[in-house]
Symmetry: C2
Subunit: 350 residues, 2 copies
């Protein structure tokens, strides 16, 4: 089969690799219905996060179970499943506490930008949908695997409550789905920070009530102006740079909360400065597995349509263009289809 | 009157100053029954936090109201009051959200190591006791002004819940009262980190179930060992150094919470490292005013005896010895009595 492999900065190749095999009794092989390019894939793509060797890419995925290991109990061949980008056993104390992204057997998924993928710890990582989904909701189901789950965690970590005033730093797909998540959690006012018209438009569709185009001191001043000088109750930091983190810290009211989910790159926090802001800081890799059942249900019930973040759909063999389009911010998020007849394949398997 | 004034590193003088006067209608003048030396007073005392000019010291206080400004409504002459070390109006949005230490009119109390002190925003800062307290509980009431209120905030910010496993970094008075606070909040297991026998003993009296004497990597390993490899649910950081903060971060389970109340000095947090620990971080100057009614009630009902942290009592004119004893760790905390007959003065005023 042919898969996406990153060889170095801006060098994504679509090349031949062996099909995955069951290696442990807890493994599952899935036929990937849809995968996509993640904002965090851009860090190694841009060379900011070095890679040691050519690396099969892709950690957001959904598809049809093809084969299960002998110990797998909760999913079976023919089922449509969504999995977290964090591989977890879902039985250790950290998982039971709801932090599957801190699992004692944690691995990070990779190699999902491919027609087939091996998912370790299937019982702890995958959730089957109630029935085979219709094609139109597959993009939305795919988002629950990471980008929506991560935006949801940002809102949850930022303690979004009904009636809250929320600010979202970052207008990438995670930030936009952070807006959607805050709306679902009952936020009354959602301020999206964005300079891009198409992203502003989507933010508003997802529930943003205000758009702030300013950044830095001006951005902070604008948020303060919109909140009577106080700052937001909850701020979602969905970028991961020093500037975005300070934007978040300075936009939060005393006693307010920041959920930070952009993987920090070179970000240093001065603890004394943080101390006097009285903000609450929580984040990390999202424990998507905790949220999957709820998010899958919201998608199946058509209460949310997070799949709208995909403004570019490509056959998998054009994966390199997906990376380019996101790198150049021509696309918010690129969806990759390993084959045009994935749904048909699913029906055959069932 | 004679008061404690810091002139420079290790130079505390007891010298003549004018008696305080009502300057604004919201001011109150109190006759100080008891004051004390705070761990945070040691930063400028040691020259780590420079002072621009000779500074009257003392921000923990309780005493009898002597005079009130024309706008003061909630306290009256003759009442015994405790006030927060943070001066707050208790009416602004930040105060109403429970963060009086982020008040829009915030000032920090000073000049309480004196027979008389001016307290601005009396209605927003002071809480009167239900009746004049007996002498034996005055030290405990004094602790609610800062050191207990701060330990309480550390436990609250660290999200201590019934049944929780808690670790406390720092065996100063704040850390010890953090132990007491965690116990009151229902913690099942409380691990105190301390190398000093007298402090270990008091920690146990306050509710510590385990003592860890190791620090650094060994300290983290010991906490992990005591928590089946997971880390504590809640960690109270009561020091404010890089070492103590990292001790806290590394001792917390994924999804666990750190309450940090030691004013950070030169502490830098690597956000990427913090991200992957999945810890929750909250702290700052404690919003003591929020907790005062509850803490005063606990003391009056004799449910807690936080005054035990005072292992040295001195007349105010020996204030310099109080600083020396704490600096050299000969004393946990020094209580200062402006006059032997403060109680009598109180009765006269009433």
């Amino acid at each position: 089969m042919r898969v996406a492999v990153l060889h170095g900065p801006r060098d994504v190749r679509f090349e031949e690799r062996d099909e995955p095999k069951i290696m442990k009794p807890t493994d599952t092989i899935i036929r990937v219905s849809s995968a996509c390019v993640c904002g965090s894939d851009l860090w190694p793509y841009r060379g900011i996060q070095p890679i040691a060797q050519p690396t099969p890419m892709g950690h957001e995925y959904c598809g049809i179970v093809e084969e299960v290991g002998s110990a797998v109990k909760t999913v079976k061949p023919g089922q449509f499943v969504v999995g977290s980008f964090c591989i977890s056993d879902n039985t250790c104390p950290n998982c039971r506490a709801g932090y599957q992204s801190g699992c004692q057997n944690l691995e990070f998924m990779t190699g999902a930008q491919a027609p087939m993928a091996r998912v370790p710890f299937a019982d702890g990582t995958l959730v089957a949908t109630p029935e085979l989904p219709s094609d139109d909701i597959i993009p939305s189901l795919l988002t629950t695997s990471d980008v929506l789950g991560t935006g949801w965690f940002a809102a949850d970590a930022a303690n979004v409550k009904p009636g809250a005033t929320v600010a979202v730093v970052g207008d990438g797909a995670v930030g936009l789905l952070g807006v959607l998540s805050a709306k679902q959690m009952g936020a009354e006012r959602i301020i999206a920070m964005s300079r891009h018209q198409t992203r502003q438009k989507l933010a508003k569709e997802f529930g943003a009530t205000d758009i702030v185009t300013e950044r830095g001191d001006d951005g902070v001043a604008r948020i303060k102006e919109l909140t009577k000088g106080i700052g937001a109750d909850s701020v979602l930091e969905c970028v991961g740079t020093q500037e975005s983190m300070m934007q978040a810290v300075r936009s939060t009211r005393p006693g307010g909360s920041i959920g930070y989910v952009g993987v920090p790159h070179g970000v240093q926090l001065n603890a004394e400065q943080l101390f006097f802001t009285l903000v609450r800081l929580h984040g990390g890799p999202a424990p998507v597995r905790r949220y999957l059942p709820e998010l899958i249900k919201l998608v199946f019930d058509r209460k949310i349509n997070p799949g709208k973040v995909f403004d570019l759909t490509l056959p998998l063999d054009q994966v390199a263009e997906g990376y380019r389009a996101m790198d150049e911010r021509r696309a918010i998020k690129a969806l990759l289809r390993p084959s045009a007849n994935a749904k048909q394949g699913a029906r055959d398997a069932a």
